[in-house]
C-alpha cells in the first residue's frame, strides 16, 4: 500500500528570515519532490530554481462592482450599506473605489435602479513549471488584487495532483510571511510546518504569533533558527522559550554571506559551493525531517 504524499509548509511569521533559500536548498537535496511557492505576493523561489514554464493560466482575482453613472439617481443606498467604505461620492457622482471593494455584491442587490454591475477580474496567474529538482507550481497575485488565500489553496491542490502523477514523496510549500489569510491558507491540513526564525527580537515576537496560528490547525511544528550565530544570546532565549512551549528546534543554521552570493548566482546553496559548512547543517536538518515526518513507502 502506498501512503499519501507528505506536505511540508515552510513559514516564518517575520519576512526575510530565509524561507526561500532554505526551501531551495532542501529541494536540491530531495528526491521525488514537488515544489509549491505560495508566497503569491512575492513569489521568489523561481528566481533560484529558474524553471521552464510548461503552461500558465489566469485565476480569478475577485469580483468588483461598478456603478453606471447614466442609471444612477444618486439615492446613496449603496454608500449607506457598504461595509467596506468602497462607495465614494465625487462631485455628486457615486463611484466604486476598486481598491476597497471586496466584491460582496450587496450594493448590486440593493440598488433600486439596477445601476450596479459586477465584473470578474482574472488578474491572478498560476504557473505550472519544471525545474531541475522537479515540478514547481507557483502563483502571482495581480497588482493590487485580492483573493490570495484562494490562489494559495489552488496552488496546493495542483501540487498535490502533480505529486500523485509523478509519485512524489514530498511536497515542499514555500509560504508567505505573516499569519493572515494566505499564511493560514498555506498551512491548513498540511502534515508539518517548518517555522524559520532568526535571533532578533522581532523574529521571536513574530514566531510566537505564528506558532499560535499554526496550533489552531493542529499541524506539527518544527523550528529552524537561521543565522543563529548573529546573536547567540537571543538564540538561547528563543530555544528556552520554545522548550517551555514544547516546540522542537530541528536545527540551527549559521550566518554565511555565501548564501547571498549563491542567490545572486541563481543557485541553491548546495549547488553553489559543496564545501560550505552550512551545507552540513542543512543536510542534517533535511534528513531529520524526513525521518520524523515522511512515512516509509510500503510497496
Amino acid at each position: 500500500m502506498e501512503r499519501d504524499t507528505t506536505e511540508i509548509a515552510i513559514l516564518s511569521g517575520k519576512g526575510g528570515t530565509g524561507k526561500t533559500s532554505i526551501t531551495a536548498a532542501f529541494a536540491a537535496m530531495a528526491k521525488d519532490i514537488v515544489l509549491a511557492d505560495c508566497d503569491v505576493d512575492a513569489a521568489d523561489l523561481h528566481l533560484i530554481l529558474q524553471p521552464v514554464i510548461l503552461y500558465e493560466e489566469s485565476y480569478a482575482s475577485g469580483v468588483k462592482a461598478a456603478i453606471n453613472p447614466d442609471q444612477c439617481t444618486g439615492c446613496g443606498l449603496c454608500m449607506d450599506l457598504c461595509r467596506f467604505d468602497a462607495v465614494e461620492r465625487i462631485n455628486g457622482q457615486y463611484a466604486i473605489d476598486k481598491f476597497a471593494c471586496e466584491g460582496c455584491g450587496l450594493c448590486i442587490m440593493v440598488c433600486p435602479e439596477n445601476a450596479i454591475k459586477s465584473t470578474l477580474y482574472q488578474n491572478n496567474r498560476l504557473y505550472f513549471s519544471q525545474c531541475r529538482f522537479g515540478p514547481l507550481i507557483y502563483g502571482k497575485v495581480g497588482i493590487a488584487e485580492e483573493n490570495s488565500g484562494r490562489l494559495v489553496a489552488r496552488i496546493r491542490e495542483e501540487a498535490k495532483k502533480k505529486a500523485r502523477e509523478v509519485q512524489a514523496n514530498v511536497i515542499l510549500v514555500d509560504g508567505p510571511p505573516g499569519i493572515g489569510c494566505p499564511a493560514i491558507s498555506s498551512v491548513t491540513g498540511s502534515d508539518a510546518v517548518i517555522a524559520v526564525t532568526e535571533p532578533t527580537k522581532s523574529g521571536w515576537h513574530d514566531l510566537l504569533r505564528l506558532i499560535e496560528m499554526i496550533k489552531r490547525f493542529h499541524s506539527r511544528i518544527y523550528v529552524i533558527v537561521n543565522k543563529y550565530d548573529l546573536n547567540k544570546k537571543i538564540t538561547k532565549e528563543i530555544e528556552e522559550g520554545l522548550k517551555e512551549r514544547k516546540i522542537p528546534v530541528i536545527g540551527q543554521i549559521p550566518y554565511d554571506e555565501q548564501v547571498i552570493h549563491a542567490l545572486i548566482a541563481g543557485k541553491s546553496i548546495p549547488e553553489y559551493r559543496k564545501e560550505l559548512s552550512i551545507n552540513h547543517n542543512l543536510r542534517t536538518i533535511w534528513n531529520k525531517l524526513l525521518k520524523k515526518i515522511v512515512p516509509v513507502k510500503l510497496n
Partner: protein
C-alpha cells in the same frame, strides 16, 4: 504629509526605516509626527520604541448567525454569499455561517426573507495606543490570531489617524490588498529594498503597485554594499529616485536584532536618516 514605508519582500527593513524616521523626525522636526504600525499580522514597531502603552480598543465586525428555527432553508443567503461561507444541509436541519470565511458584508442578512439572520459583533483585532512624546503619537493595528480579515483591521486602524503634521505608516510586506489599503492613504511611498535578486524582483512588483495608485515614491536600499548592480540599473532606467542607502554592517544588524533604533545608536546612521528625511520632505516646509 503621510509617508507609507513598504516593500514587496519581507525582511528588507521596513520597520527599521519606519522607527528610524519616527525617531529622527520627533527629535529634529517641530511639526507633530505620528507612527502607525499597519503590519497587523506581525506588528513589530513597539519592540523598537521606548513607548508606554496607554490604551487599546477592540476592532470588531458584525458577523451573521442564523437561527435555524426561523430558517426555511430557501437558500437565498447561501446564494448571496460571495465568499462561500454558508454551509446548508436541509436534510440534517443544519445551516451555519463559517466565521473564518465570512467577510462580514451583511448580504445574507439583507436577503433573508424570514429575518432569521441576526448579526453579532466578532472581534478580529485590536488597536493599541502608545505614548512616546505625546499621547497616541504611536499606535498599531493587531489582528487576532486566526482571523483572515487583515485588510479590515488595517482600514479600521487608519481611521484613527490625526490630521496634520507628518504621519509614517509601516506597511505589511507584499503587494496585494492589505498593502494597497495602506498605500492609498499615503502622499509619498517609500520603498525599502535590498541589493539581491529577491529584493530587485519584489521591488519591480512594488513599483507596479505604486504606479497603479499613482503616488509619488522613492527607494531606500538597505544592506547596501552587497554588490548587486542590476538593482541600481533598474532605478536608473526607470527614473526612480534613490533617497538613501543604509550600508550592510554586522553591527547594524546587531542593533536591529536587539530591538534598538539605528539612528539613535550610530552617528553615521543619524546622518543617513537626516538625508533621507530631507529627500522625502523635499522642501515641504517642515522644520
Amino acid at each position: 504629509m503621510i509617508i507609507a514605508v513598504v516593500s514587496g519582500k519581507g525582511g528588507t527593513g521596513k520597520t527599521t526605516v519606519s522607527t528610524g524616521l519616527f525617531y529622527y523626525m520627533q527629535k529634529h522636526i517641530s511639526a507633530p509626527v505620528q507612527l502607525v504600525d499597519c503590519d497587523a499580522e506581525e506588528p513589530d514597531c513597539h519592540i523598537f520604541l521606548d513607548a508606554a502603552r496607554i490604551s487599546d480598543i477592540p476592532i470588531a465586525v458584525s458577523m451573521p448567525e442564523i437561527d435555524n428555527k426561523s430558517c426555511t432553508y430557501c437558500g437565498k443567503c447561501k446564494k448571496a454569499c460571495a465568499f462561500n461561507a454558508i454551509i446548508m444541509l436541509p436534510s440534517a436541519d443544519f445551516i451555519e455561517v463559517v466565521h473564518d470565511m465570512c467577510h462580514a458584508c451583511g448580504a445574507c442578512a439583507y436577503v433573508c426573507p424570514e429575518n432569521a439572520i441576526h448579526e453579532i459583533p466578532v472581534q478580529i483585532g485590536e488597536i493599541n495606543f502608545y505614548r512616546r512624546k505625546v499621547n497616541n503619537d504611536f499606535f498599531e493595528g493587531r489582528i487576532k490570531i486566526g482571523s483572515t480579515l487583515q485588510t479590515r483591521v488595517i482600514r479600521k486602524t487608519l481611521k484613527h489617524l490625526q490630521e496634520g503634521g507628518i504621519v509614517i505608516l509601516d506597511a505589511p510586506p507584499g503587494t496585494s490588498c492589505p498593502v494597497v489599503a495602506v498605500v492609498t492613504k499615503a502622499d509619498y511611498v517609500l520603498m525599502v529594498t535590498e541589493p539581491t535578486p529577491f529584493g530587485l524582483y519584489d521591488l519591480k512588483l512594488m513599483t507596479e503597485t505604486v504606479k497603479q495608485v499613482n503616488k509619488k515614491h522613492g527607494v531606500i536600499i538597505n544592506k547596501a554594499g552587497l554588490g548587486f548592480d542590476p538593482l541600481y540599473r533598474f532605478l536608473d532606467n526607470h527614473h526612480i529616485p534613490l533617497v538613501g542607502e543604509i550600508p550592510f554592517k554586522r553591527e547594524f544588524a546587531k542593533i536591529c536584532a536587539e530591538g534598538k533604533i539605528l539612528p539613535a545608536e550610530e552617528q553615521q546612521l543619524e546622518e543617513i536618516f537626516g538625508n533621507i528625511v530631507e529627500n522625502v520632505l523635499d522642501g515641504k516646509g517642515y522644520n
